[in-house]
């Protein structure tokens, strides 16, 4: 029973934080909401006994990415005025689309079977469809206590994931160099050599 309560607390933190990210007008508060949401996801990872991923989530996301985003919000402070409208003209359509997607996903995920009513509108005829009735598995065996060792070995094992691992490290290096290069202040235009104007 305790586990369920903890699950609902972390779910609430995650989803309310996420709502804060998309609704807050003040971008700085939105970034702080993002941090809360990321901590909630870390809690969900912990609840699923993926302790290493929970720790990574706190380090990489809440510690790295969220701080990076807050820095950028600070750097672009002048144009992120909370008084300007933060949504574009298609916000209502986007909300409708997101709700529709959530509804469809909920229909698919619902464990009991659902039968949609038969629709008959002249030419448009939709038969009744039975969805759901999925035998969702319950949590079975405990996680191997040596799971972290196995994970670490698999990441550097030639039979495992060593090539994707190395490619990911190259990707991070390229992203780092590219990020520094793109964000570097523009150099001043080189001083014109004497005599260049005359030739021009």
């Amino acid at each position: 029973m305790v586990e369920q309560i903890v699950f609902f607390i972390f779910t609430a933190i995650t989803l309310l934080g996420a709502l804060g990210v998309v609704i807050q007008r003040n971008l700085f508060r939105a970034a702080l909401s993002l941090m809360a949401s990321l901590f909630g996801v870390a809690g969900l990872f912990g609840l699923m006994e993926a302790g290493f991923l929970a720790m990574m989530q706190v380090f990489v996301y809440a510690g790295g990415i969220a701080v990076l985003i807050i820095f950028t919000v600070m750097l672009t402070r002048r144009v992120t005025d909370p008084d300007t409208p933060q949504n574009n003209t298609q916000a209502a359509g986007a909300a409708l689309l997101a709700l529709l997607l959530l509804g469809v996903l909920a229909l698919v995920l619902w464990p009991d079977s659902i039968t949609t009513p038969e629709v008959n509108l002249g030419r448009l005829h939709v038969n009744e469809i039975t969805l759901g009735d999925v035998p969702w598995p319950e949590r079975e065996a405990d996680v191997d206590p040596d799971n972290l060792t196995i994970l670490g070995k698999a990441l550097v094992d030639a039979e495992g994931y060593v090539i994707p691992f190395e490619v990911a490290s190259v990707l991070l290096l390229v992203a780092m160099v590219g990020g520094v290069y793109i964000a570097y202040p523009p150099r001043k235009a080189p001083a014109q050599e004497p005599g260049a104007e005359e030739i021009a």
């Binding site: 998309v22 949401s37 990415i65 990076l68 992120t80 933060q86 574009n88 986007a94 994970l151």
Partner: protein, 103 residues
């Protein structure tokens, strides 16, 4: 009543939909990047939940989640660098006005 797999999947679906709304409706490029982070997190919850409930003896689910972390970090670094560069050159972060490649 145990926590079933579909509870986690539903949380992930809700998180993904919130992120989708944010990515489509926001005007600020930083807010769009944050919404994309939410969507990537939803994917990670799904990966870890399937790992825990279906194949807890293997490592594939966790490895995939770790690669999603790496790609998300790279994406954020480059995305924020682009935003800072655009801001420095044109003093804007509104994606509606970032249209100099369009014409």
């Amino acid at each position: 009543m145990n926590i079933s797999l579909w509870w986690y999947l539903f949380v992930a679906a809700a998180l993904f939909c919130i992120g989708l709304y944010g990515a489509l409706a926001r005007r600020n490029a930083i807010a769009i990047l944050m919404s994309i982070e939410l969507m990537l997190n939803a994917v990670n919850i799904n990966l870890v939940a399937f790992w825990r409930y279906l194949e807890p003896g293997k490592v594939a689910g966790q490895v995939f989640a770790i690669f999603v972390f790496a790609v998300a970090a790279a994406e954020t670094a480059v995305g924020l660098a682009l935003i800072i560069s655009v801001y420095r050159n044109r003093q804007l972060v509104d994606v509606e006005q970032m249209d100099s490649l369009k014409f």
